[in-house]
């Protein structure tokens, strides 16, 4: 996606070149080109230094750290692949992986289904629709810290509104974030509250590309609303779904913020996710080498998963009848 982009632009520049007046002698042209090279680097230099300096350079360093045993103070010790073999026999890492998988399996399908349904509903030209849209989109600006405090409040066993609604309905009070069996589910619910607006917006944009002539044509051919949805709308939002699935899986694998601002991995470690465990290992236990090794594996697995999802969906799309 990135590589081909500059190409058409360059060819355009070369075709425009000879038409440019005032190019004078060959020496003048090369001076001008050198001038543009300097200008170019002056323009992109500052941003490139920040982005590449803090984006690529530390990543390479992390690869080196992953081969070391280091607490940040004493001399780093080269241990080869020991950090990686430690990971295989770390029961806490295994349970963190389990919690992360559990979160992903609950969060990703729920957010895609609910996001699509909401987008279809919000795509209607009905009364109050802008009000509904605002309500669904607004939590997008709520930070993890704000969402975390809200989760603690809304799901508080004593004063929380959820238990008080349940009490009116005759359901006994639940522990929610204080219950090891429920805490992860509460974090899923609050993540949905915070992020469904994003999924809905992406689906809305996709629906607005689908809508119009194709839907009207299907309607005129006598298709029912449900048939239109199944045979026109759903195929039309497949690319958006692939993008969102990849995006939400990455978000799920990397979940840290809401765990940090609600349960801090508890109760009884029931919400310790991979990145939370990684953070604990690196910045609480000061195991920089082991933390880097986990981060590296996490990165590689995420990339592979993204690749599988992207390629798999493309192959399925190509194989499907037109």
């Amino acid at each position: 996606m990135t590589a081909p982009a500059p190409a058409p632009q360059r060819s355009r520049a070369t075709t425009a070149g000879p038409a440019e007046p005032g190019r004078g002698t060959g020496g003048g042209r090369s001076r001008r080109r050198r001038g543009e090279a300097v200008t170019g680097w002056l323009f992109v230099g500052p941003a490139v230094v920040v982005i590449v300096g803090l984006g690529l350079f530390p990543a390479a360093w992390a690869g080196l750290l992953a081969l070391q045993d280091w607490n940040g103070f004493s001399a780093p010790e080269f241990v080869g692949g020991e950090n990686f073999s430690d990971m295989a026999s770390d029961p806490d890492l295994a349970s963190a992986l389990g919690h992360t998988l559990g979160f992903t399996l609950l969060f990703v399908p729920a957010s895609l289904v609910a996001g699509l349904v909401l987008a279809v509903a919000l795509n209607r030209r009905i009364r109050f629709v802008s009000l509904y849209r605002t309500a669904v989109f607004v939590p997008f600006v709520a930070s993890a810290a704000v969402t975390g405090l809200l989760s603690n409040y809304v799901f508080d066993p004593q004063v929380g509104v959820v238990n008080n609604v349940l009490r009116v309905a005759g359901v006994p009070a639940q522990g929610w974030l204080e219950d090891p069996r429920q805490a992860l589910a509460v974090i899923v619910v609050m993540s949905l509250w915070q992020q469904l607006g994003f999924v809905t917006v992406v689906y809305l944009a996709a629906l607005q590309d689908v809508d119009g002539t194709l839907v009207e044509a299907a309607r005129m051919d006598g298709a029912s609303g449900r048939q239109v949805f199944r045979h026109v709308t759903v195929p039309g939002v497949v690319p958006a779904t692939v993008f969102l699935a990849i995006w939400q899986v990455i978000q799920s694998i990397q979940i840290f913020d809401l765990v940090f601002t609600t349960t801090r991995g508890g109760p009884l470690g029931s919400t310790t996710t991979l990145v939370y465990y990684l953070w604990e290992q690196a910045f609480r236990e000061l195991r920089f080498g082991y933390g880097s090794a986990i981060a590296l594996v996490l990165f590689v697995v995420t990339m592979l998963l993204t690749l599988v999802l992207a390629v798999g969906s493309q192959r399925r799309g190509a194989g499907a009848p037109a």
């Binding site: 500059p6 632009q9 005032g22 543009e36 090279a37 200008t39 170019g40 680097w41 323009f43 992109v44 500052p46 941003a47 490139v48 920040v50 982005i51 803090l54 984006g55 350079f57 530390p58 360093w61 750290l65 940040g72 209607r124 030209r125 009364r127 109050f128 629709v129 309500a135 669904v136 989109f137 607004v138 939590p139 997008f140 600006v141 709520a142 930070s143 993890a144 810290a145 975390g148 405090l149 809200l150 409040y153 809304v154 004593q158 004063v159 509104v161 509250w193 607006g197 992406v202 944009a205 009207e216 993008f243 995006w247 940090f260 601002t261 953070w279 920089f288 880097s292 981060a295 996490l298």
Partner: protein, 295 residues
């Protein structure tokens, strides 16, 4: 109602204005309201309760059952928040970090975006690829080496540690480059022929056209830097350098049950973004779907 229906393809709708088909269409929205009204209520409820609780006397919250609507409005929560915590300092820190982040992104990403879109210089393509490649690399992989690096140059526990990573973003460079590529080159050529420098062309000709893209970039940078949590948690341990977000997170232990203070803190932390959202929903929504550009 008719105003809302205006943008529909008139020719199609006009064919069956008063038939049963037309009536069926008019009645259908009510079914969607049955889904949308409760959902919208559920989404709005936590924020509404947050605002109500921030103005509530604590007696209203701690009675059984707690009140949803306050019996009286009070500023106790805000008074406690501003006198008994360092929130004013955290707010100042956050405003400083976010303002510098937005200003720096607007300047550096515009320059870089224009450079990548329009100027020919050796190494342009690989450099642009390197910038884009960083989007793939998650903060989890970067945080340990960056922490060590910042510790070595003595940047930890300072606003600088929070600022530097936000000076320019790959998303911003990509966004501005794509925007500049979409502008017809002819607009700039006239100015260049008149002897204007590239910087003058960028400032006088291109930037005035780029306002929508710049607003999207500013919204993205503002929300991202204002709400950032994991990096400040790692880089800052001294409460005098906290941002609002770590400050709020630090309330969790010590002030667990001071709900009106906690919710007042939430209101302070979300208010600027919420006001911005309500005033410029279009741009926020554009930014939300624009983050799809990263993929």
């Amino acid at each position: 109602m008719s105003a809302v229906r205006g943008p529909l393809p008139a020719a199609v709708r006009a064919e069956a204005p008063r038939t049963t088909e037309g009536r069926r269409r008019r009645r259908r929205p009510s079914a969607w309201h049955l889904l949308l009204a409760p959902v919208a209520l559920l989404f709005a409820l936590p924020l509404v309760q947050m605002v109500l609780t921030s103005f509530m006397p604590s007696a209203d919250i701690n009675r059984l059952p707690p009140r949803f609507l306050p019996s009286a409005l009070t500023l106790d929560g805000y008074r406690a928040l501003f006198t008994r915590s360092e929130i004013l300092l955290w707010l100042t820190n956050t405003v400083v970090v976010s303002s510098v982040a937005v200003a720096s992104n607007v300047v550096l990403c515009s320059l870089a975006g224009y450079g990548f879109a329009r100027l020919r210089f050796p190494g342009r393509a690989p450099t642009f690829l390197a910038v884009l490649g960083t989007v793939m690399i998650p903060i989890q992989l970067l945080m340990i080496p960056t922490y060590v690096l910042f510790a070595r140059i003595g940047l930890l526990n300072s606003l600088g540690a929070l600022l530097v990573p936000w000076l320019a973003t790959a998303f911003g460079v990509f966004l501005m480059r794509q925007f500049f590529l979409s502008i017809p080159r002819e607009l700039e050529e006239a100015a260049l022929l008149d002897g204007a420098s590239r910087l003058q062309v960028l400032l006088r000709v291109v930037m005035p056209l780029a306002v929508p893209a710049l607003v999207t970039l500013a919204v993205f940078t503002l929300v991202g830097s204002w709400n950032d949590l994991i990096w400040p948690v790692i880089a800052i341990s001294d409460s005098g350098t906290f941002t609002l977000q770590i400050g709020l997170a630090s309330f969790q232990g010590a002030r667990r049950t001071e709900w009106s203070l906690l919710m007042a803190g939430n209101v302070v932390a979300i208010a600027p973004l919420l006001l911005g959202f309500l005033l410029a929903q279009k741009h926020f929504v554009a930014t939300m779907s624009g983050s799809g550009l990263k993929g």
